[in-house]
């Protein structure tokens, strides 16, 4: 259990590490080029894993709705944005604002798709996040 918790924590560290390394590449090249390298190197890595472990086409992937295939194009913009931002507002600020946007849009998506949830927890959570963003934006130090 502790081992799995450490792995989940490590996954978060790697998200941040990846954004910093991509951001460093964007400093010398451009945000779009860093997104390109992130994807093609990642593609090579996942392909290697697929060759080693097999089962890439297991299940019935062709039965997925067409929009489930749009994650890649969205990711290109996402990685480019992260690479562009991290050199300008820092790793922590970038991470926090992305987390805030992810959490709030996650609730919006859940509500739009009619996913059941605790309304009060959703309201309190969103208010806390908005308050944090407001503090982060306020001019006073």
């Amino acid at each position: 259990m502790i081992g799995f918790a450490a792995l989940a924590l490590l996954a978060g560290v790697l998200v941040s590490l990846s954004r910093q390394v991509n951001g460093r590449l964007a400093l010398s090249t451009s945000a779009w080029e860093s997104s390109f390298w992130n994807h093609i190197v990642g593609l090579g890595f996942v392909t290697l894993a697929a060759v080693l472990f097999g089962g890439l086409f297991a299940g019935a992937p062709m039965e997925a709705p067409w929009w489930a295939y749009l994650g890649g194009p969205v990711g290109v913009v996402f990685i480019a944005a992260g690479s562009w931002l991290i050199a300008r507002i820092g790793a922590a600020q970038t991470a926090l604002l992305i987390i805030a946007g992810q959490m709030i849009s996650g609730v919006v998506l859940d509500v739009l798709m009619g996913t059941a949830g605790n309304t009060w927890a959703r309201i309190i959570g969103i208010v806390l996040i908005l308050a944090g963003m407001w503090v982060s934006r306020s001019a006073k130090d």
Partner: protein
């Protein structure tokens, strides 16, 4: 190298918040793909289509390189850390941690390592020291996230 930084302009602020929205869409799209196909497939397809779109964007926009100096070789390897992340999270999601625990610990790892990296100026990025205001913002955003992750689901 400066520990006093300007308040991020509204553009940066909106871009980062919007990127978080894109991340939600990615999780929804890739997660739906993983319901029908394998976890590897749900990571392989977005990397493949993403590479193709990135090539198209580079051909059309032809962004200029910011520097004539070559970046260090390791700067090209960010995609590997991303690939490992997918494998780690798919592994821990199916343990007692579940999705909520995986996300919460992932947020913690991300924020702690980002703070550390900022203070040290790791990987050739500008060094910056967080201010008390930044810690308050951090505490509020993480508290709100934990409320959503652990209490926001169906009762």
């Amino acid at each position: 190298m400066s520990d006093s930084r300007p308040i991020p302009s509204l553009l940066y602020f909106a871009a980062a918040f919007g990127a978080g929205g894109l991340l939600s869409l990615m999780v929804l799209f890739n997660g739906t793909l993983a319901i029908y196909g394998s976890l590897l497939f749900a990571s392989w397809v977005p990397h493949l289509t993403g590479t193709l779109l990135a090539i198209a964007i580079l051909l059309v926009l032809r962004p200029r390189r910011a520097s004539t100096f070559r970046p260090p070789l390791w700067a090209y390897l960010g995609g590997i850390a991303g690939g490992v992340t997918v494998m780690l999270t798919s592994a821990t999601m199916n343990t007692a941690l579940a999705l909520s625990g995986t996300i919460a610990l992932g947020l913690a790892g991300q924020v702690l390592f980002s703070l550390f990296a900022d203070m040290r100026g790791l990987f050739g990025l500008p060094q910056r020291m967080p201010k008390p205001r930044d810690y308050l913002a951090l505490a509020l955003i993480i508290a709100g996230s934990l409320v959503l992750i652990f209490l926001g689901g169906a009762p």
